[in-house]
Point group: C2
Chain length 239, copies 2
Amino acid sequence: MLTGLALPSAHDAALTRLSALVEFDIDGRLALEQAAKSRFTCPALRELLGEGQRVVQPSILLGGWAGRMRLFADGRRQILGFILPGELIGFCPHRDPLAATTITALTELSLAPAPEGDALAGAYALSHALEEFYLFRHIARLGRLSAYERLVDWLLEMRDRLAISGLATADRFPVPMTQEALADTLGLTSVHVNRMLQLLRREGLIVSRGGVVHLPDPARLEELVDYRPALVTRTPGIA
Amino acid sequence: MLTGLALPSAHDAALTRLSALVEFDIDGRLALEQAAKSRFTCPALRELLGEGQRVVQPSILLGGWAGRMRLFADGRRQILGFILPGELIGFCPHRDPLAATTITALTELSLAPAPEGDALAGAYALSHALEEFYLFRHIARLGRLSAYERLVDWLLEMRDRLAISGLATADRFPVPMTQEALADTLGLTSVHVNRMLQLLRREGLIVSRGGVVHLPDPARLEELVDYRPALVTRTPGIA
DNA sequence: CGCGTTCTTGACTGCTTTCAAAGATGGTGG
DNA sequence: CCACCATCTTTGAAAGCAGTCAAGAACGCG
């Protein structure tokens, strides 16, 4: 079971990601497998955690995309970051955490209680460092890139993050989001996101069909936005 | 341009801030006082840490302002966040940390090696959670607020953060920065920052003299931007 | 097949940038 | 003490990127 070919299972992405972050021991594998047995789902658009709410149960995301967001009183929305398969929700290193942001399911989710263990603790610390890195990048993206560049930079980040859990190749990955949600991520309007996507398509820099994005020339995109991969991982994200 | 260096003792702001974060025991006080003895200064504009460099010595900032930033290949700069007196530099919970961002002195700095201790470890964890919260707020600010609103929101945050270390009152605090640096923080040009500042002054919402800002009507400003204070506090709700 | 959601398009507005240059400010040395 | 210089702030005119409003097309789902 632990050797030989593993069949695709519900926690495959999480397993792949945790293995990429730390030397993943037998205990860790068993703990994850155990946790996956009590996995549960969450329908799209459901709010997982409200701003100011007490964090109950740290969980690991097995499948689907969740979003961290700030909702303004006047209806404006800003998506602060994403939580992708293999990443953690409600994991705080300090006592008595209150959720600083709202977390919502962007697609249907598959979740499990975060398994515990020595190797896993290390993986969670690294995961947290990565999350912080993505926040820094998001700030730079919003503050100093044009709409066109933001789109490119964001696509590259999603590719790299999904690749860690084996859900992306160097030039192809799923993006299960509306242009409206993308606009709320990139600080734009959905109309403008639409226009920039079309421009990228016309230029042959992206091809998308059925919620899957293909990047014919990733190197060109990386150059366009001075893209720099995260420095945190144990192994390279893209093979 | 100097802040915090003229206090009764060099580590006053840090002491005040750490006390605000945790129940601060005798051991902690002594450790801080000891650390303060080996404090050192750093001239304005000096780079403390370069992106990708290995983090050497976790430090606590005793006085002055530092900035975390991303420098683009084409010269664009985005300030990702600030490090204010009592806050930490190079403090990472995981092994083998590489600096994800460049950190630069915005003013002359007074620094000390971060003292160790049980209570202090708790304070550092809380401080880290607060830092993350500021990142979230910065993202929302850049993504969904107008130039005018960004300025207001940022001023309120600086007030609150400086207040934790006793360096601000509810309506008055130092801002030792050029409009250029402020522009690189808020994702604007210095010209536009200048115009918005003048507008705020004309409206009587801010008064500034000699690098000190006064907010005649903070409540009005908070309402303007749907401002919400950080939820991270010392008093554990239930624990 | 029908309906709601999402995507696409066009015309117009406007916030923010760009470019350029003139004041103000502060520190330094004669 | 004042001249001088670099840096920072202020101002104006023009251009451009992104937003707004509105409506039609395409898509997915029951």
